[in-house]
Symmetry: C2
Subunit: 344 residues, 2 copies
């Protein structure tokens, strides 16, 4: 049959550089050179090989190349909980940025941090050239990677013992700013909706806020647990009211999505206008934070700059594994918004 499509045929032998060589009447090494960036080949050779390649439908096999060069040109990206609205943007940008450098992203998503060991094993088996992780790795895990000689960049995680490079947003400073503004605007009764306990990001945000509040003379703070989801923000507010025996002056949520849930609960279930009767602040600066109904007061992470830094850092270390680990910390953008009564 003439028009039969391929999914109907048996899997055929692959077209290799030898096929091209034969058709072009040159050696296989010559073909290899033509397909390598800055290699020595005469113009005529290029012509013939290109023509032959096109004719037989040749495409270099990146797997075979990776085997010999010891470079897969793949980087693993580990993301822990995509429910946090803010990861997709990160992922998009990382992939984009890496692709500009000829590097592909092998994606690993974690439902539970416990999966990380098996995922790590996978990544190493695939001989990735580097790893970007937005999930926390413990000492043994970092040591394992280091032993394999693979550079790592931690995203929004603190470097442990200088075993890995890291890029993060200065959450401490961000939370201090939020707290300071709220206190200066005469808020006194504070509550916090924290994030998942196994997220260092979340823990750090909460503790920074608590600490700054204490510094400013506010010791009593109601903390309720959340998991970064809208629903947990939504449930967090009634929990706060119950514990406090009434509404607080301000709620500090560990991320924007929970802040939004909290606002909805306050408005809808308690008839409390935000920000008139209640101030709510978040963290991250995700898309929905700018929806008119919420217009969150928050700290926006400079995702673009952070991803660029991450990629640059990792590429440098792939090129030169000797480079010592480095930590880059970016300030978040303060967004005054309209979900909190501030003086500014």
């Amino acid at each position: 049959m003439d028009k039969e499509t391929n999914h109907q045929k048996r899997r055929q032998r692959r077209t290799t550089s030898y096929d091209v060589a034969r058709v072009a009447g040159v050696s296989q090494s010559a073909v290899s050179r033509v397909f390598k960036a800055g290699a020595s080949a005469s113009a005529e050779m290029r012509q013939r090989v290109q023509a032959a390649a096109k004719k037989v439908g040749y495409r270099p096999n990146a797997i075979a190349r990776g085997l010999i060069t010891q470079r897969s040109n793949m980087v693993a990206v580990v993301i822990s909980r995509m429910t946090n609205l803010y990861y997709p943007e990160l992922l998009m940008q990382l992939t984009r940025e890496f692709s500009h450098h000829g590097i592909r992203v092998l994606l690993f998503t974690l439902e539970h941090e416990s999966e990380i060991d098996s995922v790590l094993e996978q990544m190493l088996q695939y001989q990735v050239d580097g790893i970007v992780t937005a999930a926390m790795l413990n000492r043994e895990q970092l040591a394992l990677i280091d032993e394999a000689g693979i550079p790592v960049a931690l995203y929004n995680r603190r470097s442990r013992d200088g075993l890995a490079s890291a890029v993060r947003c200065d959450q401490e400073e961000g939370e201090r700013w939020l707290v300071t503004q709220l206190v200066e605007a005469a808020h006194r009764r504070f509550a916090i909706i924290s994030g998942p306990e196994d997220s260092t990001v979340s823990v750090e945000r909460t503790s920074s806020a608590v600490q700054k509040l204490a510094e400013l003379g506010i010791q009593e703070v109601t903390v309720v647990g959340g998991d970064y989801s809208y629903q947990s923000g939504r449930l967090g507010f009634p929990a706060i009211v119950k514990q406090l025996g009434g509404p607080p002056d301000a709620v500090i949520a560990a991320n924007d999505v929970m802040a939004i849930g909290c606002i909805d609960a306050a408005r809808q279930e308690f008839n409390l206008p935000v920000p008139e009767a209640l101030s709510v602040v978040g963290f991250d600066g995700v898309g929905p934070a700018r929806y008119a109904a919420y217009n969150l007061t928050t700290v926006q992470q400079p995702v673009e700059r952070m991803t660029q830094a991450t990629v640059a850092m990792l590429l440098e270390r792939i090129k030169d594994p000797q480079l010592p680990p480095e930590e880059r910390i970016f300030a978040g953008a303060k967004v005054a918004g309209g979900s909190a009564r501030l003086l500014i």
Copy 2:
């Protein structure tokens, strides 16, 4: 130094199955067998090899394995515009589902559909075992993939000429439902905010709505262009009012995010209560659609079932390339919500 970390050393020779074989005092083939699932090896052999492997820190090289087996155990996932809030969920679920089957995801993101050719080339070079694409491929592109003998699953795209399998949500039926409900509830002046013109999904949604409206006797429909973003929904509403010389009864947005933008514009800039003065409907059923401030009337895509179907379909075809293409269409869940005055 004893405690020096690896990033300070030169890249070492990799630990191979030969190293394990030497330490265990067996042949290299034996090591290979022990690390292959259902291969023949005595219990004692297993023991010795496992022990030796652990001792030298051996990990099979997936790249080398891929070269010989002609199976990379990688699948390419192509996603076009992550700004559509609904892709992250898809991506998360796909990765999860594939990983349960021992398959890794190589991620490709497109900013413009024009990039697709180079991306395609990349995927093929990496010898992926299959492709899932949420971007439209033209006939040549599908033919190229087919020629390479790689199964494809189109996500929310119609299969072209039966060249590829596809999984999609029945948007036509969804839009018809939305339109019918609105018309039955006495809405007469309709406007549509369409999505990007290069998105077949968007075009189909818009045309389905227009067609059903016509069937129900409503010929005049104002259509303004959007790009799936919040901002474009926000700007779409004033554009509609201007064209219409006043507010419409109902706005049909091509996705949820634009519907949200539209609601914000109506409420904030025109003081029009939704749904009392204006009904707005969306499509997708993304997270923010359920935020209390919007509570969208929309059609929710059964993402989980769709991803499972996609993965199953692709895996079947990887196993047996002879299988003919197949199209699976899922109905969306009708969500009455509160952003439209309906009779139900």
